[in-house]
Amino acid sequence: MRLAAKLENLSKDYVLGAETVHALCDVSIDIPEGDYIAIMGPSGSGKSTLLNLLGCLDRPTSGRFFLGGDDVSKMDDRQLSNIRASRLGFVFQSYNLVPQLTVMENIELPLYYRGGMTREDRDRCRELAEMVGLGDRLRHRPAELSGGQQQRVAVARSLANDPQFILADEPTGNLDSVTTEEILALLDRMNDEGRTIILVTHEAEVAAHTRRVIRFKDGRIQSDVIS
């Protein structure tokens, strides 16, 4: 079984004045390709910190993190940016669409930083918009869409660069139960296509969609259950 990612004794400290916060302590996880993981735990337990490290938005204080075969923990900003542009997809709790861009432009945005866009890319972005049910809203701006629609745009955007890895920090935190199911259905489908998905959630119903639940407490793994 090939590993999509591997975390070895990963730690992240935040220094606040004289005090040091151990946001993550000595975390080791093997993530096989195509895994579908829910990260759970009380607020402040380090879930977001972990996801930021996995998303190459941050560097660990100590320990090592491999993505595919590459050691990410030693990379510089440029290399990390390239990895984000080519291999990762993000879905945020607060959608995080660019307000002045249209739906279509938001979906295409990651391609822009990957260094260009072919006709096929463009066609695929339109297909993605149709897949999330917004094929008729391509020219709308985020402000003209409901929360659920915005999150569907965000899901489509996370797929634009055809990433191996999807990272979602409480993607349904702002949604009602009906739209939550719509988004989860999309994530399930992405996992069925073979993509590795890691999502942070507080809700058991959301976690029930996944194959594996890792619980955190005070920056440490409390349990790691594969169903």
Partner: protein, 438 residues
């Protein structure tokens, strides 16, 4: 690659258009800066070109010696003053002097057939026409032969001819000056008045002149002038009003001027009754003044561009803060730091280029606008305008060609320099912090 670039520019323009008023006000700063660079330089150039032209028309290879009236409280004052025929003799023999052209000017009244003109009688030689760039309309100017004669011949300026002979042909007619009659042998073309250029040379108006051989003046009128002042008669004896020395080589002008000054000082002692004007010196002064002017204008322009640049920086810092979250999103989606720098830099470049282009266009209208404004003002408040110095009244801006690329280049440079800091600040933001920004 090209695709990414086009998108960057599109995006920059698009986000500027999201805040049209804000962008407009930002452009205004650069626009005013650029337009003022071009305007100030053009006006400065116009003034100094005019001054140089006037000085050059005196001839860079000339030295002009003029009689001036000593001040009344000068203890050496007497009825006889000014440069003399003896001075002329001494100056003529300086080896570097090609020739010395003397003139004698007198205020006189000219009559013909009931018409009267008050004007200037100029006793001169044949060379005077060439020296002052006077051109003949009809007949001829005082000839070489006439210069040495004492014949009662005269040449009229165009205006005197028109006023004394409104209906007749003046050639070969007689006019009366004091008790004598003179035969008109020529009429000159109109010559614009020259304006003063500093030194001892006041502006000259040629329109009420008549020209007579200098020997004739000496013989018929003499050196003595009787003036009536405060009811008393008052005599003055002046031999020559002016001597123009033509020097053999421009390189010899300054040293010859020294010799001339020394020669005259020896003759006149402490008596301040003459002045030596060296157009070449004035020309060099005018050039130095022009440089000073350009430096000064450049400083003013630099300050206005600086203010424009600070305006851009201010706006961009506000924009960056406002769009912190967007920066975080773009970073998460793979934007490198350089991508963020470019995104914001493109916006400042668009602002400064638009400001620069509009500034150049408005800068180019400088000439017509200034001339139009001057004409309007002259029609509206002629008295006030009349009191202004001649250089100001006759301002005709001359666009300095280099000022256009210069002003434009500086505006783009300012845009880049002042945009760089906000752009770098945006790029150095921590993506996670930026994403969390409300």
């Amino acid at each position: 690659m090209t695709f990414a670039w086009i998108r960057t520019w599109q995006l920059g323009v698009k986000s500027l258009l999201l805040h049209p008023l804000r962008s407009l006000l930002t452009i205004l700063g650069i626009f005013i800066g650029v337009a003022s660079v071009i305007w100030l330089l053009a006006i400065g150039e116009g003034i100094s070109l005019k001054a140089q032209e006037q000085i050059e028309s005196l001839g860079a290879d000339n030295i002009i010696v003029r009689t001036i009236k000593p001040s009344a409280d000068d203890e050496n004052s007497s009825v006889a003053y000014g440069i003399t025929r003896e001075d002329l003799g001494r100056l003529e023999v300086i080896p570097t002097v090609l020739r010395a052209v003397p003139i004698r000017e007198l205020r006189q009244r000219f009559y013909h057939n009931g018409h009267k003109v008050e004007g200037r009688l100029v006793g001169c030689t044949a060379e005077y026409a060439e020296l002052t760039q006077l051109r003949v309309e009809r007949g001829h100017f005082i000839s070489e032969a006439e210069s040495k004669s004492i014949e009662n011949h005269c040449v009229l300026s165009a205006e005197v001819a028109r006023r004394l002979f409104p209906l007749e042909d003046p050639l070969d007619q007689m006019i009366q000056v004091e008790q004598d009659v003179y035969k008109v042998v020529g009429v000159m073309k109109h010559r614009d008045a020259t304006s003063g250029i500093g030194g001892s040379l006041a502006g000259q108006n040629f329109s009420n002149d008549i020209y007579v051989p200098i020997k004739t003046v000496e013989k018929r009128i003499g050196d003595m002038v009787i003036l009536r002042r405060q009811g008393l008669f008052h005599a003055e004896i002046i031999e020559l009003s002016q001597i123009t020395l033509r020097i053999d080589d421009v390189d010899h002008v300054l040293e010859t001027a020294e010799v001339v000054k020394r020669t005259l000082a020896k003759q006149h002692g402490k008596k301040q009754d003459y002045a030596v004007t060296v157009p070449l010196e004035l020309l060099e002064q005018a050039r130095a003044t022009r440089l000073m002017f350009i430096t000064f204008m450049g400083m003013i322009a630099a300050i206005s561009l600086l203010v424009g640049g600070i305006g851009i920086m201010n706006i961009m810092l506000a924009t960056v803060t406002e769009r912190t979250r967007e920066i975080g999103i773009r970073r998460a989606l793979g934007a490198k730091q350089i991508d963020i720098v470019m995104q914001f830099l493109v916006e400042t470049i668009v602002l400064s280029v638009v400001g620069g282009v509009v500034g150049v266009l408005v800068g180019l209208t400088c000439g017509p606008i200034v001339v139009f404004a001057r004409e309007r003002l002259e029609a509206w408040i002629p008295d006030t305008m009349g009191n202004l110095p001649d250089v100001v009244r006759s301002i005709t801006p001359v666009i300095v060609p280099v000022s256009i690329p210069l002003a434009f280049g500086i505006s783009v440079f300012i845009g880049v320099v002042f945009g760089l800091y906000p752009a770098i600040r945006a790029a150095l933001m921590d993506p996670i912090e930026a994403l969390r920004h409300e």
